[in-house]
Symmetry: C2
Subunit: 514 residues, 2 copies
């Protein structure tokens, strides 16, 4: 626990926007609780040792020649025919020595700087879905207009700290240059850290350049002052494809943050046991983490985990399950063993914004935060196991994340608060109430979390007001948020430079076959 | 963590009922995780000390003469005019010495015995609501038919370990003898531990007698082999009414379990600060706990907490809030400081079984379980801040509780599992899958939690199957559960004895003014 704030410190009223949203979760957000540990120290070390054995004896396939060359140069055994790289444990230990335990990412608005590591927590917007859903227009394919709306929603809620990889795919735009439109929207409609798509080098470099321009920096100046991140997904089991390792190396070369995340659904991409899944996940993550450090010692890197399970009857992926929660807690222990920042996710398999969506997400939010994840990817808006970005789910998740942010604050319990409390208790008769007490009146505005979505009316008033459920109220809230949205200020010269860069790159990419 | 099960131990297939429900959560259910601590040791001791000061200097009102007499006899300062009892800290310390750190409650089916204390967790059916709701018949006042259905549902799910106080009030029955009909239904339609209504001595004793008859014991034989529990609600701030303290004393005299629970909504029944609320809650709980020990040293007693907050704009009670979660974690630390079993709750203020109901309940389930609550009251079915018992909410809660039970199991990570896992990983080519692997096939039936309510179909199949949300699916599940419900076997002689007892007591109570 941190030192309690003095009870004498003047309380400023909580700032709110016109929507009445608490400005809760502005960075830096810190977790004052100790992590939950699912594994004993013996179990943790056994998984660590087994994954080193897996790396040494069985190996990981790297399809990219550049990655294989880096491993060969460092002393790993590389089998060109199969692409298998067998990594001595000393090499892993060496890579872990240079990887930083925490780092800072700075976007164009320095107030939205993210500290990644220690007990900091940052939540991201949903990333990657091909589809969009809202209760008004229904389910549809991703498109640029919805993309922009999603970025605007992220900008509307302080608890959404960063923009993940393409919250939806604007599929009507040319695939070759779509990433440019996305980065431009990210940096125009929000002022937050965002994700670079690391499918090959070029998409990554374009993302770095656009962030650099928005900050008035060059790509080189960003090397020691990073502002973007990427997720490197492992094609589990034990495979990094070429586009991924090239993207990883481009990001690390330029000092930007890489999150190495094996996609390890137990029963499909790993064996069904937790022992095997964690071993495999750990080996895959360590291989990618080592590659960042071979590329540039000291490059910011995050231990990513996404171990969940499939439905063994159908093979369908499941999220927010007990297995997902347990693996998330355990993976946090592995990240801390290596003194690395840790990434987990808020996930759900529900096809609709209902009670299932809420409880699966709460399972993953609690296990992520209590597992001391520093980055919670897909923090808001992820539905259908990642196939759909949902406007209502964003609102639901924002409420759940804000509640968690309030839960993990330090407890305001100290001698002054206790003394004032004792006096307040003694001043009210037995069986009485504290509504009108001076102690209450001087504190009531900021005493408790003010909900965004929860309805606490009694049944009769709730029914008179229309009897809306949480999902119906969420529709009203995102509609209002878009209505009152304001673009974060951006220097017109920078805006011009961004437009010019995007125009030039689109021209250059016209005839590139990639 | 406990010793991992041997990987070589033969796996028996998970037993399921015809509904496909996992028999998950059969007692004893244990929590293998360490508790989350919200308070530092200094903060914890400061609250402890302040509550002792409150007890010594300000005092607690006991409206009951019998309670005041017990305190006076023990050496507390009793002010007859106001009913205020001021309790020296030495007396509290003495009471805590005789209170057991754990105990066992045995109902008529010994397989449903509850261990209360240490790292055991037991979940209860919703208790106390005047109203009933289901999606078919809507909202209505409590009645005996619905009462019986609720008991049948509790009996249908192994994760519901005990029956709380009147899951709904059968208001068409005479108030004077209603408790007898309720106890009879509890013991007929379920075989679980139940709650005795401790409004005065007689209702408590009738509950003890009915449990005794169902077990073939006398009331006296139950003294050292208890089978029922009660909640003693404090009329906060600082008041125990006469019926409550009389009920408490009747239960303790007969060796039955008493859960002392201050009802401390911050902003209404306590000051708004956590420091004050925890201090007051702790003082009130300690006063009631001491009374159990003054009544019968060694009587089973539980530290109860129900600290949440009100909506400061309307005064409406709120549950499953961040404040509720933080107080629940902190209260667990106080209970452990006193080496007492701990009771918390699963609660929500939502008026409907929607996403809010799910996330508020998850906030309280996670904080209860991670705060190491031994009894989670209102575990399944609590809606509208306790005003309504919901059939759909029971199903939703059962799913969430089962998921939590699966989450807190020991991790099956040990050298044998790891070795088999390494071999299984090495046997699958990079980028391949594990669906058909022998390692998978030999384990897949029991590898993962099988959900009751969650739907993991893909969007298209889900839509084809009717596109039902979780609440609509919950309706189907409770309907099916009632359809296939079977009464737990009961010796006809015992059934007759129960009927005779109830008939006699109804006759006796006809003319009692009570």
């Amino acid at each position: 626990m941190e030192t309690p704030r003095s009870a004498r410190r003047p309380r400023r009223p909580r700032e709110t926007t016109r929507l009445g949203m608490a400005l809760l979760g502005q960075p830096p957000l810190r977790n004052s609780f100790k992590p939950i540990e699912a594994l004993s120290q013996d179990q943790l070390m056994a998984i660590h040792e087994a994954s080193l054995t897996l790396l040494e004896e069985t190996g990981i396939e790297f399809m990219g020649a550049a990655a294989r060359q880096a491993f060969r140069k460092a002393g790993a055994a590389v089998e060109e025919a199969t692409g298998l790289v067998r990594i001595p444990r000393e090499l892993i230990a060496q890579g872990l020595k240079t990887a930083p335990s925490s780092f800072v990412l700075t976007p164009r608005n320095p107030a939205r700087r993210l500290h990644i590591g220690e007990n900091h927590v940052s939540f991201g917007l949903v990333a990657g879905p091909p589809n969009i859903h809202d209760a008004v227009a229904g389910r549809r394919s991703g498109n640029h207009e919805d993309y922009v709306s999603l970025i605007k929603l992220a900008q509307s809620f302080d608890i959404i700290h960063f923009i993940g990889n393409q919250p939806t795919a604007p599929i009507e735009l040319p695939a070759r240059t779509r990433h440019l439109d996305c980065y431009l929207a990210n940096v125009t409609y929000s002022d937050r850290v965002y994700h670079c798509t690391s499918i090959g080098r070029n998409r990554a470099l374009d993302g770095i350049d656009i962030m650099a321009i928005s900050r008035g920096l060059t790509r080189e100046q960003m090397i020691d002052d990073p502002g973007v991140l990427t997720i490197i997904s492992v094609n589990s089991p034990r495979r990094f494809d070429e586009a991924m390792s090239d993207g990883l190396m481009a990001m690390s070369e330029h000092g930007q943050a890489v999150v190495v995340t094996p996609f390890t659904l137990m029963g499909a991409m790993t064996p069904v046991t937790m022992a095997a899944a964690l071993t495999q996940q750990n080996a895959e993550a360590l291989a990618g983490i080592l590659l960042t450090q071979l590329t540039r010692p000291g490059a910011p890197v995050v231990y990513g985990a996404f171990t969940s399970n499939v439905d063994m009857r159908s093979g369908a992926p499941a999220f927010g399950t007990p297995e997902n929660a347990r693996a998330t807690l355990a993976a946090g222990q592995l990240a801390r063993l290596y003194n690395l920042p840790y990434r987990a996710s808020n996930s759900s398999a529900s096809n609709i914004v209902d009670a299932q969506a809420a409880y699966e997400s709460e399972m993953s939010i609690w296990s992520s935060v209590m597992g001391h994840a520093n980055l919670v990817y897909h923090g808001a808006g992820w539905m259908e196991g990642g196939l759909t970005a949902s406007f209502e789910k964003i609102v639901l998740d924002v409420e759940m994340l804000q509640m968690m942010a309030e839960t993990i604050k330090p407890m305001d319990v100290n001698p002054a608060e206790i003394a004032e409390g004792l006096a307040a208790i003694a001043a009210v008769p037995t069986g009485g109430h504290f509504f009108g007490a001076e102690h209450t009146l001087s504190r009531y505005e900021t005493a408790f979390y003010t909900p965004l979505l929860s309805n606490w009316q009694n049944y009769e008033n709730w029914e008179l007001a229309g009897g809306l459920d949480a999902t119906q109220r969420a529709t009203q809230i995102w509609q209002k948020a878009l209505e009152i949205y304001e673009r974060p200020p951006l220097d017109p010269a920078i805006e011009e430079a961004l437009a010019a860069f995007v125009a030039r790159r689109k021209e250059e990419l016209k005839n590139v076959d990639h």
